[in-house]
C-alpha cells in the first residue's frame, strides 16, 4: 500500500480524501494556491505545499507544479478528487511516467469515456440503449439540420469533450440551429480546447439516474446501486438521493446489469458512474460515464455502508476488492443537499467572510464541508461549500431529517442556496417524488 499520497484538489473533496487517507494510516500531502493559504484542507493534512497562484490554471490545473510537488514530497500516489485534473488522461499518464500512481482509472479508459462520442459508440456496440443522436461529430450547420430532421426536435447540442453538465445547449427550433452551433463551438473551444460537437435527442420529462460502480482492474466490477440526481439547476446537480423512487428491484437489476457490462468490458479500474436518462415508462438511455469519484458519493456510502473513497485508494494500492456483488444491499434512504455560496435568486457565487457558521448534527447527519467561522470564501473556485447528507429508515423520514438539518444550518456573512433547498424539500411534488430534470425550472 501507499505510505504517502498527494491530494491534487481543494475544498470539501480534498478534506474527504485526506480523512480517508488518515483512516488508512497513509500520510497526506495537501496542495494549495496562494488564495487557499487558510483553507481547512491544508490544516488537516499531514503536510502541505503551495503550488501556485490563485487562478486554477496556475495551481490546481498546473500539472507540472503538481508533479513537482509530488516529487519534492516523495509521495507514492496522487489522488485527483473530482473536477480539475481528475478526468485528464494526459495527467494520469504523466503521473505514471513519473513513477507516481494515479488514483483513478487507466488513462485509456479516461480517454475513451472522456470523448462522449467514443463512449456512445462503445456502449452502443454492447447493445445497450444510448441516447438517440449522432455517433459522429457535427461537420457543419447543414449536417446539424439533417440530423434534426432525422431525430426530431427538441435536440441537445453537446461538446464531445464536455461532460458533467457543461457545454450543453437545447434547440427547440430549426431556425436556431446555425446560431447555436456557432455559440456552442466557441464555448467548447474555450472550455475544453476542442470544438467537436454532437447532437442528442432532448427529453423533457425524464429523470437523471446514475449507477455507482467500482472495479478492481482485474475484471471485478461491483455496482453500488443507483442515485436519483434529477433535481438540477442549469444542468448542475442540486439534490441527490438513493435509492430512486422511480427504480424498483427489477429496473435496478437491469440498470446495474447495463452499468456492469459497460465497465467489465474494459476491465475498469477505480470508481465511476454510469449516467442514464430514465423516462416515464421505465426505459433508460446511456448518457455518459464519469471516470472519477463523484460529488454525491456520500448518499451511496450511507445506504450501502461502504466507504467508497477508502475502497478506491485500496484498489489503486493493489488490494483486492473488499466486497462482492452479493454483499451490496441498499438499506434505508439517503439524501444530499449541495450547499453553495451563491445568491439563491440569481445563482451568482457569493464570496466573502463567513462570520457565523453553525452546522447541523445529531443522528445520521453528515456534513462534508470545508469552511468555518471566520473563513473567507475566495472568488476563484467552485461555489460548493458543504454537502449536507442525511440517512433514515425511509424516504419520508429522510426528508424530515433533512428539513430539520437545513433549519439548523446557520451561515451568515455570505449568501447560500439553503432557502431554495428548504423550499424544495417542503414542496408536495418533491415529497411525492414527482421529479424530473426540469423540476427546479418549473418550481421557481
Amino acid at each position: 500500500m501507499f505510505t504517502k499520497v498527494l491530494v491534487a484538489n481543494r475544498g470539501e473533496i480534498a478534506i474527504r480524501i485526506i480523512r480517508a487517507l488518515k483512516e488508512l494510516g497513509i500520510r497526506s500531502v495537501a496542495v494549495y494556491s496562494t488564495a487557499d493559504k487558510n483553507a481547512l484542507h491544508t490544516r488537516i493534512a499531514d503536510e502541505k505545499v503551495c503550488i501556485g497562484s490563485a487562478q486554477s490554471k496556475n495551481s490546481y490545473l498546473n500539472a507540472p507544479a503538481l508533479i513537482s510537488a509530488a516529487q519534492i514530497k516523495g509521495v507514492d500516489a496522487i489522488h485527483p478528487g473530482y473536477g480539475f485534473l481528475s478526468e485528464d488522461a494526459g495527467f494520469a499518464e504523466v503521473c505514471e511516467a513519473a513513477g507516481i500512481k494515479f488514483i483513478g482509472p487507466k488513462p485509456q479508459d479516461i480517454e475513451l469515456m472522456g470523448n462522449k462520442l467514443k463512449a456512445r459508440e462503445h456502449v452502443n456496440k454492447l447493445g445497450i440503449q444510448v441516447m438517440p443522436g449522432t455517433f459522429q461529430e457535427i461537420e457543419d450547420e447543414q449536417h446539424a439540420i439533417r440530423i434534426a430532421k432525422e431525430i426530431g426536435l427538441p435536440l441537445m447540442v453537446k461538446a464531445a469533450e464536455g461532460g458533467g453538465g457543461r457545454g450543453m445547449k437545447i434547440i427547440y427550433d430549426e431556425d436556431q440551429i446555425p446560431n447555436i452551433i456557432k455559440i456552442a463551438r466557441a464555448e467548447a473551444k474555450t472550455a475544453f480546447g476542442n470544438t467537436s460537437l454532437y447532437i442528442e435527442k432532448y427529453f423533457e420529462n425524464v429523470r437523471h439516474v446514475e449507477i455507482q460502480i467500482i472495479g478492481d482492474g482485474n475484471g471485478g466490477v461491483v455496482s453500488l446501486g443507483e442515485r436519483e440526481c434529477s433535481i438540477q439547476r442549469r444542468h448542475q446537480k442540486f439534490i441527490e438521493e438513493s435509492p430512486s423512487v422511480a427504480v424498483d428491484d427489477k429496473l435496478r437489476n437491469k440498470m446495474n446489469d447495463a452499468a456492469l457490462r459497460i465497465t467489465k468490458h474494459i476491465n475498469y479500474r477505480g470508481v465511476g458512474t454510469i449516467e442514464f436518462l430514465l423516462d416515464e415508462k421505465g426505459k433508460f438511455y446511456f448518457m455518459e460515464m464519469n471516470t472519477r469519484l463523484q460529488v454525491e458519493h456520500p448518499v451511496t456510502e450511507f445506504v450501502t455502508g461502504m466507504d467508497i473513497v477508502a475502497e478506491q485508494i485500496n484498489i489503486a494500492g493493489g488490494q483486492k476488492m473488499s466486497v462482492s456483488q452479493k454483499d451490496i444491499k441498499l438499506k434505508g434512504h439517503a439524501i444530499e443537499c449541495r450547499i453553495n455560496a451563491e445568491d439563491p435568486e440569481t445563482l451568482v457565487p457569493s464570496s466573502g467572510i463567513i462570520h457565523t457558521y453553525i452546522q447541523p448534527g445529531g443522528p445520521w447527519v453528515r456534513v462534508d464541508g470545508h469552511v468555518y467561522c471566520g473563513y473567507e470564501v475566495p472568488p476563484y473556485y467552485d461555489s460548493l461549500i458543504a454537502k449536507l447528507i442525511v440517512w433514515a429508515e425511509d424516504r419520508d423520514s429522510a426528508i424530515r431529517r433533512m428539513q430539520r438539518s437545513l433549519d439548523e444550518f446557520i451561515i451568515e456573512g455570505i449568501k447560500t442556496n439553503i432557502p431554495l433547498h428548504k423550499k424544495i424539500l417542503a414542496s408536495k411534488e418533491f415529497l411525492l417524488g414527482n421529479i424530473s430534470t426540469r423540476f427546479i425550472e418549473k418550481f421557481i
Binding site: 503551495c50 503550488i51 501556485g52 497562484s53 516529487q71 519534492i72 513519473a98 473567507e376
Partner: protein, 146 residues
C-alpha cells in the same frame, strides 16, 4: 526565529488589535511596531492580502530600508550552482545586476533560472542546495543599496 516565523508573527498582529510586540529568547530579540495608519484597513485580515508574487518589495524592520526578496516562481528543488561540481552562482555579498541568474529551481527535470529582480548585493541566501521549495517561497534577499 527564521524569516517565516517573523512573517507569521507579522501576520498575527496585523490581524489583531495589537500595536506593538516584543519577544526575546537568549540572544535573539525581535520587536515589531505597527504603522499607525494601516490599522485595520477595510477590515481585511492579513490572510486576505494578495500573496506576494516573486520579486516583491519587502520593507525590512531596521531603519526602513527596502530590501528585495526573490521568491520561487515554481514548486520544486532549489540549486545554488549550475551543477554539483561548479561554484554557486552567488554568495552573500555578491554584487548582482537585474536579470542575472542567481539560482535554479528544478521542477519535473526542467531547470528554471532564478534571476535577480534588481541591481544590488546578495544580503541573504535562504535555501541550501537541494532544498525543496514551494511556490512563492523567498530564496534570496537583495539589498539594492548594497
Amino acid at each position: 526565529m527564521d524569516i517565516h516565523e517573523i512573517e507569521e508573527l507579522i501576520g498575527l498582529i496585523e490581524n489583531k488589535d495589537i500595536m506593538e510586540i516584543e519577544y526575546s529568547k537568549g540572544d535573539e530579540k525581535i520587536r515589531i511596531v505597527r504603522a499607525v495608519e494601516i490599522t485595520k484597513k477595510a477590515g481585511k485580515t492579513p490572510q486576505e492580502r494578495p500573496d506576494e508574487m516573486p520579486g516583491t518589495l519587502h520593507p525590512d524592520t531596521d531603519e526602513g530600508n527596502a530590501f528585495i526578496s526573490v521568491n520561487s516562481p515554481f514548486v520544486g528543488t532549489f540549486y545554488c550552482a549550475p551543477s554539483p561540481s561548479e561554484k554557486p552562482f552567488v554568495e552573500i555579498g555578491t554584487k548582482v545586476k537585474k536579470g542575472q541568474t542567481i539560482g535554479i529551481v528544478e521542477a519535473m527535470k526542467l531547470m528554471n533560472a532564478i534571476e535577480a529582480d534588481a541591481d544590488g548585493a546578495i544580503k541573504q541566501i535562504l535555501k541550501k542546495d537541494g532544498d525543496p521549495v514551494e511556490f512563492g517561497e523567498p530564496l534570496f534577499i537583495i539589498d539594492p543599496e548594497g
